[in-house]
Assembly symmetry: C2
Homo-oligomer: 417 residues x 2
């Protein structure tokens, strides 16, 4: 697909016919008359997820009750789901566990990383990082005091220069939630480790969206989300990656019974489990985790390089179609153009981004708004077709041309946007 030739619907239809991932679309339930460009907020529902939810509720819980901990191996879910995620982020088995929320998991790995850095206390991140990541560092500072944990924020452009021998932990989100900017994991990890720092990567917007190689990049710790590109359902549990080389020496303070060496001996004193299990805290969220487990089966035969290619192609296609509409020139792209520097979304600044987003949703194109003025579109190659991109841009152009978005009803902000 070149940018010189005008893209046509027919050409896009052909792209779909040539698409090796097209068949995957059938694995998802997609509502009629809806184009879903928000899989980076909440992934669409894999059909197998509905089946698994029914099975876990009615059969495993309803029929087999407490015996399911053994009979259906609920007790091992955090590890089996963890390993499935591990395969998709380039982690060898035994280094990923599924549990809790991304925020809670960040607290754990942050403490684990700092436990290896007795002489340093600076946690370096960027101003644009997802706020919850920054809040969790602030929260930890509050209990440890700033002499053990202090957040330092810089702009993206000053990041590399700020990585020095004061830094205990470099905390970055691989793909920026607003702009979709992709950091170079290999390079930044190396830069940090060269200065004696440890790295924590937040993979919320990259896991399941592009090939990630935590082992190969020698990453120390990572966290991520189950309900975006993994399609694990609303509020699906999150995950933790901790490189095996750290397992025996780290500690983290959310020492619940599931992280104990022998939880069912009910010892009065805590003794941490060996390996990745030490990151478990309370009872696993069996129902949600089972649904995520089912959703991950959809990825079992997916080639992540192929997925990445389609993700970039869909994004480029969107951009080219946009440029074919005079009326859409007012959308200022903030996502980098270079393929190596972006994830699986495009973001555009526009003074009426909120109203545009609402008007689009009304017309069946589900996009996302991020304060104060960003329209965000996520491209999920497992269930989006090239022709969907065509239709989405046509509707966007209609909304813009007609001034539909200027109606009062689209200006009123909802609780969640």
């Amino acid at each position: 697909m070149t940018h010189d030739v005008k893209l046509t619907y027919a050409a896009l239809k052909q792209c779909d016919l040539d698409d090796p991932l097209l068949a995957k679309r059938a694995a998802f339930h997609l509502p009629d008359n809806t184009l879903y460009l928000d899989g980076n907020s909440l992934g669409a529902m894999p059909k197998i997820a509905a089946e698994r939810a029914a099975e876990v509720v009615s059969q495993q819980w309803g029929e087999h009750l407490i015996t399911s901990w053994n009979r259906h191996n609920w007790i091992d879910l955090p590890f089996s789901v963890g390993d499935k995620i591990g395969r998709l982020i380039g982690a060898a088995p035994g280094q990923v566990v599924c549990c809790d929320s991304t925020s809670v998991n960040l607290f754990k790995v942050l403490c684990a990383a700092l436990s290896l850095q007795p002489k340093r206390h600076t946690v370096l991140s960027v101003n644009g990082n997802f706020p919850t990541d920054l809040y969790m560092v602030e929260g930890l500072s509050q209990v440890t005091g700033t002499q053990r944990c202090q957040l330092k924020l810089v702009d993206d452009a000053k990041l590399e220069a700020a990585i020095n021998q004061e830094v205990a932990v470099l905390l970055l989100t691989q793909v920026d939630f607003r702009s979709g900017r992709l950091f170079d994991m290999a390079k930044l990890t190396r830069l940090a480790q060269d200065k004696g720092a440890l790295v924590i990567w937040d993979l919320a917007h990259s896991a399941g969206a592009l090939p990630v190689a935590v082992d190969e990049c020698n990453v120390d710790f990572a966290i991520g989300c189950g309900y975006k590109y993994f399609n694990g359902g609303p509020g699906a549990p999150a995950f933790i990656y901790a490189a095996r080389r750290h397992h025996s020496t780290i500690s983290q303070p959310l020492t619940g019974w599931m992280g104990h060496k022998t939880p069912f001996s009910f010892d009065t004193r805590y003794e941490k489990a060996p390996g990745i299990a030490q990151f478990l805290t309370g009872t696993p969220a069996v129902l949600s985790m089972s649904v995520l487990d089912a959703a991950l089966e959809v990825f079992a035969d997916v080639d992540m390089q192929q997925l990445r290619q389609k993700s970039l192609a869909l994004s480029d296609c969107f951009q080219q179609l946009l440029s074919q509409h005079e009326c859409l020139r007012g959308l200022e792209r903030i996502t980098p153009y270079n393929a190596d520097e972006r994830g699986s979304q495009l973001a555009y600044r526009h003074p009426d981004a909120y109203a545009l987003c609402q008007a689009l949703i009304k017309q069946g194109v589900i996009a996302d708004f991020r304060a104060p003025d960003i329209l965000r579109l996520g491209f999920t190659p497992l269930y989006l077709r090239y022709v969907d991109i065509w239709t989405a841009v046509e509707i966007l152009a209609d909304v813009m041309r007609s001034g539909e978005y200027l109606k009062t009803e689209y200006q009123v902000k909802h609780k969640v946007t």
Copy 2:
């Protein structure tokens, strides 16, 4: 029901006919040929829970996708479910929130309580407390240092004497997970507060099992579990109670975006939400929480005094039937006899408790084993009948008399017991 007259099956059948809660049983799915005496580990499945799970997965997620945060009010679930729980533990609205696991929630309220006690650092509890509660205190000590948080453990018998002016926080589980012993919440809360201490009650084995009155007892903080007596499903989210008088002055370190005053403004700095929302951390576990929400509807018209009466009657009935079987004399009761001193379970010590439990399960009576030698039986008045108790004891007597439990197959320990 008196202890002098021999209990008969006919008498128990009459008890069922006279039971005002009998109709509630129809709200639950109960497997055939199973007597479930383990609702204190994992509550049975309310039929409405299966319906809600299907609706949330297929309709709310599958059809309405991201728009459900507003359309189905996912964003308010932690508060609406919290208030439903609040009603059952005697908390006025706005003081309970549903989130995370019991262990993670304990960490939050522990920090919140200690934030009000700058001059004290002792967290007093009892040796027999549920281990995860003690582990979480240990974990916090690890990051704060013992000069801010130090666990002190005493035996139950020495508890009152140990409540002195050194104690920052008294941390107790109302009903002991092993013995079923019930602490006097009103008295112990008063004793602690008279010495300037704050109290945290773990309601894991009391919420939904008996009338709890946190407001009336002037409790400071409480936590509890969604999957036991509330029947919220495996790994259902837990809850936090924090008395309104503390909301403006406390702080806790798991400061995720959902606890921010305005999460969707994506500010770089954390500013805590007013009220109970400050205890939220990451994205709510929508699917699991919705199922718990449905399960709580079963309680909407339940009189907790009536539930308590039946719970005690079922327990007494079990004990009396036990005493009618010569062969069951070897079971040494460790649960207090006084109704004011026990929850909704009975626990018996026996050298072969593990094998007995396994043999019972094989015969369809699901009981629970707690290391090293305790057979635990939970009584859940919403779905157990008096005649079920009769049948359970008959089977227990058969297993004991026949020596069935001595077979090798029952001696082999499973991963989870």
